[in-house]
Amino acid sequence: MRRGHADRTLIAAGLAAIALGGLSLLDRTDVIDIGFDYMLPAIFAAVGLVLLAAGLSQ
C-alpha cells in the first residue's frame, strides 16, 4: 500500500488525462481539428508517460 506517499504513476496518469481531455475538448468545440494522425501519437505518448512513471516508481 502506498498511502501517505506521492504516487508518480497516478500523477503522470492525471497529467496524461488532462492533456488528452484538453485536446479532445478543443476538437469537439471546433477550435482545432485533430485526426488519428495526431491523436494516436498523443495516446501512445500518454501511455508511454504513465509506463515510464510506473517503471521509475518501482
Binding site: D7, I11, F36
Partner: protein, 332 residues
C-alpha cells in the same frame, strides 16, 4: 528463489511448468502470472497458431532456471540457424488474415489485454497465487473489464451524440483528481475510470464521429434542385442519395452529405460534371477516378468543367465508414 540483486534472466521455469516451463519462465521474468501466458498461448493457437512456433522457439533457445543449458546451445551453428529459420517461416505463415488479427484489431486486443493485466495486478494479483484465489481474482477482473468496455462504449456514444465537450470536461476533472490522489497516495485503480472516460472520447474526436443524424437506412430521391436539402445527415446506418432525376442549372449546385458511422451512396446524373470533396475519419472512398481507404482521408476529385457548364459539388463527411459516388457517364 533468485537473489534480489541478481540480474533478471529469461529462463524456463523448472518449478512452474506444464509442458516446458516457458510460460512459467515468462511469468517470473515479467512479473505476471504464468496462467495468463498459458491462456495467451492457447488463444494464439485459435488465431492461426502463431503461439506454437513462438513456444517451440523459446523451448529450444532458453536455458532452465536450474542452470541446464538450452537445447540449441548444444547444437552446431548450422542446426541452430536452420531451426531458427524454420520457426520464423512457420510463424510467418500464420500472419495472414483472417487467421491473425493484424492492424487496428491487434491494437484493440493489446489494449484490452494490457488493461486486464493492469487490473489483475491492481486487485493484488501476483504470480504464485493459489489457483482458487487466482480464478476468483481473474473472474473479478473479467467482470470489471466487461463493465469498463460497456461504459466506454456508452461514453463514446454520448460523445458522438454531442456530449463531447462535457465528457472532455469530466476527463480533465478526472485528471486533476488523479493528481490529487497521487499526491495523497491513493489507489492506482482510480486510473481505470479515467481511462474509460478519456479513450473513447479520444477515438470519437479523432474519427470526428457525429451520430446526431439518427439511425436508419434513408433513401432520398429529389426530383428537382428545389427539393434538395441543405444537408443530408445520418448518424448510424446507410444513406442513399439518388440525384439522377435532377436537371442541374448552370453554375454550381452543392450537395452536403454527412454520416457518422455507416455508408453513404450518392447517385449522380449521367453526364454531370462532379467535384467530390470528402473527409473520412476511418474507412474508404469510392469515387470515379479515385479509390482510397485508410484513416484521416481527405479526397478531392475536381470536375473538368468548362465555363458556364453545370457543376455538381458533393461535400461529404464520413466519420467511420464508406462513401460511394456512382457516376457511370463522365462529364460531357
Amino acid at each position: 528463489m533468485p537473489e534480489l540483486d541478481a540480474p533478471r534472466r529469461l529462463t524456463r521455469s523448472t518449478s512452474d511448468k506444464w509442458i516446458g516451463g516457458v510460460a512459467g519462465g515468462l511469468g517470473q521474468y515479467m512479473g505476471v502470472d504464468a496462467t495468463l501466458w498459458r491462456v495467451g498461448f492457447g488463444v494464439s493457437i485459435l488465431f492461426g497458431g502463431v503461439g506454437i512456433p513462438v513456444y517451440l522457439g523459446l523451448l529450444a533457445f532458453l536455458p532452465t532456471d536450474d542452470g541446464e543449458r538450452a537445447w540449441a546451445a548444444g547444437r552446431s551453428r548450422i542446426t541452430t540457424i536452420v531451426l531458427a529459420g524454420l520457426l520464423v517461416l512457420l510463424a510467418l505463415t500464420t500472419f495472414s488474415p483472417p487467421s491473425f488479427l493484424l492492424g487496428p484489431g491487434l491494437f484493440g486486443v493489446a489494449a484490452v489485454s494490457a488493461l486486464g493485466i493492469g487490473l489483475y495486478r491492481a486487485f493484488g494479483g501476483e504470480r504464485g497465487d493459489d489457483p482458487a484465489r487466482m480464478i476468483a481474482r481473474a473472474t473479478l477482473v473479467l467482470i470489471v473489464l466487461v463493465a469498463a468496455l460497456g461504459a466506454a462504449t456508452g461514453i463514446g456514444l454520448i460523445a458522438a451524440l454531442g456530449g463531447g465537450p462535457a465528457i472532455a470536461g469530466l476527463s480533465i476533472f478526472g485528471g486533476f483528481a488523479l493528481i490529487g490522489a497521487g499526491l495523497l497516495g491513493g489507489p492506482r485503480w482510480l486510473i481505470v475510470p479515467v481511462i474509460v472516460l478519456v479513450m473513447p472520447l479520444a477515438v470519437v474526436s479523432a474519427a470526428d464521429l457525429d451520430l446526431t443524424g439518427g439511425v436508419g437506412e434513408p433513401r432520398y430521391r429529389p426530383a428537382s434542385v428545389s427539393e434538395l436539402r441543405p444537408e443530408y445527415r445520418l448518424g448510424l446506418g446507410q444513406m442513399d442519395v439518388d440525384l439522377r432525376r435532377l436537371t442541374l442549372p448552370a453554375g454550381v449546385t452543392e450537395v452536403k452529405v454527412r454520416v457518422g458511422v455507416g455508408e453513404a451512396v450518392v447517385h449522380v446524373p449521367d453526364g454531370a460534371c462532379v467535384t467530390t470533396t470528402a473527409h473520412v475519419g476511418v474507412g474508404a472512398v469510392d469515387a470515379p477516378d479515385r479509390v482510397a481507404e485508410g484513416r484521416d482521408l481527405d479526397v478531392e476529385v475536381p470536375a473538368a468543367t468548362r465555363p458556364g457548364q453545370p457543376e455538381l459539388v458533393i461535400r461529404a463527411d464520413i466519420g467511420v465508414g464508406h462513401l460511394q459516388i456512382d457516376h457511370f457517364e463522365p462529364c460531357a
